[in-house]
Amino acid sequence: MAIIEKRNSVDFAFSLITALASGVVVLLILGILIVLVRESWLAISHFGVVKFIKSTDWDPVKENFGAATTIFGTFVSTVLALFIAIPVAIGIAIFVTEISPNFMKEPIGIAIELLAAIPSIIYGMWGLFTLAPIMSKYIEPALKASIGAVPVVGILFQGTPMGIDMLTASVILSIMIIPFTASISRDSFNLTPAVVKESAYAIGATKWEVVKNVVLPYSKLGIYGGITLSLGRALGETMAVAFVLGNNHQITTSLFNAAATITVTLANEFTEADKDLYLSSLFYLALILFIMSFIALALAKFFLLKAERKTSR
């Protein structure tokens, strides 16, 4: 009897330790939220919420801060990156699942995985020393000469192409998020039952029609999940864009201008903030970023769980 009781108490202790360890994750998320709110409280009480988000000021000397420029930069670079990445990523997924011969599936899968494993600072380095010169010498002048002359859309491509700008940052960002979208899309394409595809082929559908009308609708939720996950990742990406964005606190219409995102502002200014209100405003930016990416990631998880439930039914 005594032995069994001792066993039980050891077992209880072990279960308690494991429970505490898993509780660490919850504590971390709550901790981050609480600490960021506490640290940014000075700025929150000083500038308010709506005013801070709407204000385009960012003046460390006069201690006048607003988040509009960095939120704008974060939003534009993310949307542009998704705009470039999504078609490519879905194309890759279609190729891997429907077109490629079997012996090529593995190498391409590995290539995509490696692309995702390269650290973001390497993307940043490469962007600064390799991509930026290419962009400023060839691609941006070409864009300026062609689309830049078109009314309305042309506004996006004005000014001197320097290579250190929103467009280059978005291109790097898009290369970074392609693997996430591609691998999740591929996995959900693979879940389409063969029978459904075969019946479409049997009534004479071409391969593209099968993809368009059967596979894509079937794996819709998984694709949404992959896209929102990439969105969450892109919002918070720091080092890949820190090199090539220029940290310019202005809202500009041209993609050839330097800009600032929340992450780049934090990376460049956090250790230089000498005044309490300045530091607090930076914490405030971090809080906004945390909330934005948390919502995006939670949404991604929601889509993916829903997709999982649909296929397991």
Partner: protein
């Protein structure tokens, strides 16, 4: 042109575009990797590994301090993050298996995996740097551990769930308490998987820069004191690449080469282990 031809052409166009997309993915990988390897390999001189940084303009400097700092910070992060991650994953897959709590924590961990690492940096700055008044290596290690924990936790949970339930029942039938079953049966069955998870999580944090910028910061002198600011490869790359000197740029490429090769080798090894073990 009749409708059949049109459909066939449409199909060919769409499939060609998909193939081009796949090729472009390969293209970027080869482009980026090739660039890092070609530019980096020339920078791999003995002085890069053996010398400490010299004042700007003086040649012959290296990044010995950064290599040492990186190893220490990543090592401590692993020592903190791995036990917590494995134990936490054990709770989700064993004691709390199938419960709402386990599901909720699992989802939160998945979100935590992708939370911007720079936010983690600001968080650790507030709780570990601000109170003591100066940057320190411990803060850098904890910041990396925070990123590591959810990764290890989720892979452990997945790997333990793959161990057949009947194996546990066999051990229960011999009268073993649950903790013994977990340690002696379940962990053994899932050992390779858990090890792979640990490897991949190390690869994940080894390239992290943003959380180190505000925690361990940087140090141009050799230091093994975790209580003070510490150099790391990634933070040095950032500083050197943004700096104005060509010699700094070359060293930054060398450091990038080392870190990229290290991470890619671990990633490939992890993938091979999984393939070999769970065929």
């Amino acid at each position: 042109m009749n409708i059949d031809q049109k459909r066939r052409i449409e199909s060919i166009v769409a499939l060609t575009l998909s193939t081009l997309a796949a090729l472009s993915g390969m293209f970027w990988l080869v482009f980026i990797l090739g660039d890092v390897l070609v530019r980096g390999i020339g920078a791999l001189t003995p002085s890069l590994f053996l010398n400490d940084p010299t004042p700007a303009g003086v040649s012959g400097g290296g990044l010995r301090n950064a290599f040492v700092g990186q190893l220490m910070i990543t090592g401590v992060a692993t020592l903190i993050g791995v036990p917590i991650g494995i134990l936490g994953g054990t709770f989700l897959a064993e004691y709390a298996r199938g419960t709402k709590v386990a599901q909720a924590i699992s989802v939160l961990s998945d979100i935590m995996v992708s939370v911007p690492s720079i936010v983690v940096g600001t968080f650790i700055y507030a709780i570990m740097v601000k109170p003591v008044g100066h940057f320190n290596g411990w803060a850098g290690a904890v910041a990396l551990a925070v990123i590591m924990i959810p990764v290890v936790l989720r892979t452990t949970e997945d790997m333990l769930s793959l161990v057949p339930w009947t194996l546990r029942e066999a051990a229960f039938a011999l009268g073993a308490p649950y903790y013994k079953v977990i340690i002696q049966v379940v962990y053994r069955g899932a050992a390779t998987g858990i090890l792979t998870g640990i490897l991949l999580s190390i690869a994940r944090v080894a390239g992290e820069t943003a959380p180190l910028l505000f925690t361990s910061f940087n140090n141009s002198f050799m230091s093994t004191d975790m209580r003070g600011s510490m150099a790391s490869l990634t933070a040095s790359i950032f500083q050197y690449a943004m700096g104005p000197y060509d010699e700094w740029h070359i060293q930054a490429w060398g450091a990038s080469f080392v870190i990229t090769v290290f991470i890619l080798l671990i990633t490939i090894a992890g993938r091979l282990i999984i393939k070999w073990r769970y065929k």
